[in-house]
């Protein structure tokens, strides 16, 4: 394990920025913290427990152009737009977000592979950051995530005086070597410190309101009963069908592909996030398979809690980051849904 003193962090950032495009939690004008490009003036805020938006944009941006085609008179010409191949380093990734990438991999990297996602994934290096101040909305433990050990190329921990640095993957080690003297070795006692801090975090987690929350593992087995459960009507009735939950969710990954007519025969084809909450979601020639709010609402949670695990070795499409608990305009969230199903006689 290495360490670097807090006052030297700016040096670290500059060094990392030389290795590629560096993204890390920065505080914006309104005091909100989000992943942003590192600049000397940026207000880096590693201490923030959770960024407002997840880091999924790094691999799966909300909008990305796929190709252009243009018509000259009666001729048509095509041009594919490829994602940039620059190295990206994301620092300060929390364990929940780190796990979400593994979940997205199951979607985008299985055949047919999404070359855009794949390219970004390969060009990106993740530096995780152990949690020290989990919030009451946190429930990553419900998915066996260790808040202290993000599944990233490098794991880091922040103490009052230093940042501790542990390369985990080859990529991570390579990076650490490049940083050379910036990182000094951490001795036994210091490693202890980090472990103690981890223990404290665990204690806090156990005090939080959702510490004993878990998803009923019988859900997939009872698929049909769950699908037909009465709880959906009650739950969905207060849903606004806005897309907030799906857009801030680190594991939601639906997208739409659209054409934009730029005039004079020019057209751009791009893909953008879609949301199962949207009225025209999966609208097809014959119409829309899910016409009502209830159906769309149910789809989202059935997908996360039933369909996805069914097709992915029991892995739920949720990492317990708690963003939906914080952001839903009407305080609906996956916890509420899971609990409702728990008590309903359908499971």
């Amino acid at each position: 394990m290495y360490k670097i003193s807090k006052e030297n962090l700016p040096k670290l950032y500059t060094a990392l920025a030389q290795q590629g495009r560096l993204l890390l939690p920065c505080q914006n004008k309104d005091g909100k913290t989000d992943f942003a490009d590192y600049t000397v003036t940026a207000k880096v805020n590693l201490a923030a427990t959770l960024t407002a938006r997840s880091a999924k944009d790094v691999f799966f941006p909300q909008v990305e152009n796929l190709l252009k085609f243009s018509a000259q008179g009666k001729k048509l010409s095509l041009e594919q737009i490829l994602p940039s191949s620059e190295t990206v380093i994301v620092m300060g990734v929390r364990a929940c977000d780190a796990r979400s990438f593994k979940i997205l991999d199951r979607v985008f990297l299985k055949e047919p592979v999404d070359s855009y996602y794949q390219a970004r994934r390969e060009n990106t290096l993740l530096i995780g950051l152990g949690c020290t101040a989990p919030e009451e909305t946190c429930f990553c433990h419900a998915f066996g995530i260790d808040a202290d050990k993000p599944e990233t190329d490098v794991q880091t921990w922040l103490t009052e005086d230093s940042l501790y640095w542990l390369p985990v993957t080859k990529k991570g080690e390579a990076l650490s070597e490049k940083l050379g003297a910036l990182l000094e070795l951490a001795d036994e006692t210091e490693q202890k410190k980090v472990e103690e801090q981890a223990a404290v975090t665990k204690k806090i987690l156990n005090l939080l309101p959702l510490h004993d929350f878990k998803i009923n593992d019988k859900l997939p087995a009872n698929e049909l009963k769950v699908f037909n459960s009465k709880v959906w009507e009650k739950l969905s009735s207060s849903c606004l069908s806005c897309c907030t939950c799906t857009y801030i969710c680190p594991t939601c990954h639906c997208y739409d592909i659209r054409d934009y007519q730029a005039g004079e025969g020019k057209t751009e084809r791009f893909r953008c996030w879609d949301s199962c909450m949207a009225g025209d979601f999966t609208k097809m020639a014959h119409g829309n398979p899910r016409k009502t709010r209830l159906e769309r609402f149910r789809q989202r949670y059935m997908h996360k809690l039933v369909y996805f695990p069914e097709n992915n070795d029991g892995v739920y499409a949720c990492v317990g980051c708690g963003r939906c608990l914080q952001k839903c305009p009407v305080n609906l969230n996956i916890v509420k849904v899971a609990k409702a199903l728990e008590v309903s006689e359908d499971v």
Binding site: A71, G73, K74, Q261, G263, G279, D280, G287, N288, K291, T292
Partner: protein, 662 residues
């Protein structure tokens, strides 16, 4: 794929002189769905149109773009041409490359480039054109005239003469209106009654005219050619068919407390009364608020004296419903109530009267048999002051900003009445300006000054003070000499502003005929359609549209009649196909659109809707009456969900043009 044909016109050298027409044709030929493009010297000529017809056949064109002069010139021509080869006329678009291009530009390259752009825009639009069909609606061959004054009577007579049925609805017990109250008329000074009453009789006797007096319009629905109107015939309490009009009842009626409306309150009338001797119909009415029989149950004298047992205390209001093809508004005017003019002595002294009261005082059939006397004393005045512009051209809240137009002339007339009959009565007219345009008008006014020795003083009357024993003192200023004047007349006449009849607003809402801030009806176009209201099938006659004198009123009445006749002469009305349309699956029924529709063309109905999502629901949605809609498009923008669109100018069409031009 669509097959668009583009035809570029040279317009001789008008276009070809500045625009490389061949280049325009060549440029658009490159566009995938342009199946044919050519240019020709005169596209509008027979040969030109032949080229279009041929091309349509040879290339199975389904859409046509003509690059030529303004659509205001030849759009109709090319639409007809298209129709002649089986293409819907609304599949034609015009690119205006003359007025908007060759005529305003000099540089050929520049002009050609613009012409190509304009052509491309027209092509972009025409892609979204859809066949449109003018609807047909029938015409009920009967007209309704609301108001039985000179305007209404004249309009009715003219329509009736043309052979169409006309009904007149008059809210007073008799027709005749304001003109009947007048003594003489300018500029000829002939007796008002002598020229009006014959017309009243004609109207009453005309086989095509039906009179509904003492009646009001209750409800109007429908649209041009097909109005449904409900008329309330108020109970006269007298059986018109039995009454001989002898007037015995009116003489014997014991109730004498009600001021006569006709005599402007200068005299009282009975509870049962006939407004004036030449009233038509000459059938009395019982004013139930004044009648002792109705108030106390006692009395009943009228029915006792009536020789023909015509009195019927039990009579009820009657509702008549009738269909009409056209409606004429001739609701006339009244004088501005002067309550706010106490500073001019109004309401303070009986000897401060309005011009209409003066008309009654000088009228041989009036309360004083035409003797000019001061209402307070009954004595003849020695001097009279006439005040112009009382409430006219007045920007304060008590007055009207407009000029009442007729006052300058009738002031001169009144001055003459007086000087004619009572040469030693001194008459002074205070004025801001004397406005007497019109045939023989200025001469008339000058005669008042030069021959009748009326004093005209340019200046305003500051106030009229009434002292303890009722003497009047007029404080005024003479703007020409800059002197302050103090006069001691026995009679002061206030030339009060005219204003539309109070029920104008009510009718306007019934008919969706808009009115302006002063409640005058608005014309469809202030210059080009002065006797039509914006609502198709509704026409304007007389004072209700704006201040007018009798000659003007009569000529406008004739004009309105002509318009009505023109409408009634039609078997069918072709409705404008470029109307608003409601996409019901989007419409929320929020009723915003109806607010901005000047024609009341939008109503709402509950319907089974298949939503975009594919669900079925019962919803209230907007319904456009295509016969009423004139296609302005106000509703399309008012609609937040763009459910309202305009045929011929759809959002898609306009946006396509925008994209093509930018």
């Amino acid at each position: 794929m669509q097959k668009i044909g583009v035809f570029v016109c040279w317009c001789g050298s008008n276009i070809a002189g500045t625009v490389d027409v061949a280049a325009v044709a060549e440029a658009v030929r490159q566009i995938p769905d342009v199946a044919f493009a050519t240019d020709y010297k005169y596209m509008c000529s027979e040969q030109g149109q032949a080229i279009i017809r041929q091309a349509v056949k040879d290339y199975q064109l389904d859409r046509i773009v003509v690059c030529s002069c303004s659509p205001r010139m030849h759009e109709a021509t090319f639409r007809k041409c298209a129709e002649s080869v089986g293409i819907n006329p609304y599949m034609v678009e015009i690119a205006n490359i003359r007025e908007q291009c060759s005529w305003v530009l000099k540089d050929k390259a520049e002009a050609t480039a613009k012409a190509i752009k304009l052509a491309k825009a027209a092509i972009a639009k025409v892609r979204f054109n859809t066949p449109l069909h003018a609807g047909k609606s029938n015409v009920v061959k009967r007209a309704l005239v609301i108001g039985g004054g000179i305007a209404g009577i004249q309009t009715a007579l003219d329509i009736a003469e043309a052979g169409y049925k006309v009904d007149i609805v008059e809210k007073e017990p008799t027709i005749g209106g304001r003109m009947a109250q007048l003594d003489k008329t300018f500029p000829t000074l002939d007796c008002s009654a002598c020229i009006l009453t014959p017309k009243m009789v004609d109207a009453a006797q005309h086989e095509n005219i039906t009179l509904y007096t003492y009646s009001e319009v209750e409800k109007v629905s429908g649209f041009v050619g097909n109005f449904d109107v409900t008329i309330r015939k108020k109970a006269r309490s007298v059986k018109a068919d039995m009454c001989s009009g002898c007037g015995l009842c009116t003489e014997k009626c014991p109730s004498r407390k009600t001021p006569s409306e006709f005599d402007m309150g200068l005299k009282n009338r009975g509870a049962i009364y006939i407004p004036f001797a030449q009233a038509i119909p000459k059938v009395p009415v019982i004013d139930r608020d004044a009648c002792l029989k109705f108030k106390t149950g006692k009395c009943g004298i009228c029915s006792m004296v009536c020789p023909c047992e015509a009195i019927d205390y039990t009579q009820q209001d009657e509702l008549v419903t009738e269909k009409y093809g056209a409606i004429v508004l001739a609701t006339g005017f009244e004088l501005l109530p002067l309550d706010k003019f106490a500073d001019l002595g109004w309401g303070v002294s009986k000897d401060v009267i309005s011009s209409l009261q003066l008309e009654r005082l000088t009228n041989a059939a009036g309360p004083t048999e035409g003797h000019l006397v001061c209402p307070s004393s009954g004595k003849e005045p020695k001097s009279v002051v006439i005040v112009s512009c009382v409430g006219s051209r007045d920007t304060t809240e008590r007055g009207k900003t407009y000029c009442s137009k007729i006052c300058c002339m009738y002031n001169a007339k009144h001055a003459m009445y007086i000087r004619e009959k009572y040469p030693n009565v001194d008459v002074t007219v205070f004025y801001i300006d004397v406005r007497t345009p019109g045939k023989g008008f200025d001469e008339f006014q000058r005669r008042a000054v030069e021959e009748y020795g009326v004093h005209y003083v340019r200046g305003q009357v500051g106030k009229v003070v009434v002292d303890g024993d009722g003497k009047l003192t007029v404080f005024a200023s003479d703007l020409n000499s800059g002197r302050h004047l103090m006069l001691f007349p026995d009679l002061v006449v206030l030339a009060a502003a005219v204003k539309p009849a109070p029920d104008a607003r009510k009718l306007a809402t019934m008919l969706t005929a808009s009115i302006d801030n002063d409640d005058f009806y608005v014309e469809a176009h202030p210059k080009l359609r002065p006797v039509e209201s914006p609502t198709a099938g509704v026409f304007l006659s007389g004072m209700c549209q704006g201040p007018k004198d009798i000659p003007e009123t009569v000529s406008q009445a004739g004009a309105a009649a002509a318009k009505v006749i023109g409408l009634l002469a039609k078997e069918h009305l072709a409705t404008n196909p470029c109307t608003a349309m409601c996409q019901e699956n989007i419409c929320s029924g929020c009723k915003t659109c109806a607010h901005v529709c000047p024609y009341g063309a939008i109503t709402y109905a509950g319907k089974q809707i298949i939503t975009l999502a594919g669900t079925r629901e019962q919803r209230t949605v907007a319904v456009v009456n295509e016969a009423l809609c004139q296609g302005c498009g106000a509703c399309t923008v008012a609609c937040p969900s763009t459910a309202m669109d305009l045929k011929g100018f759809t959002n898609k069409q306009i946006l396509a043009e925008v994209d093509a031009l930018c």
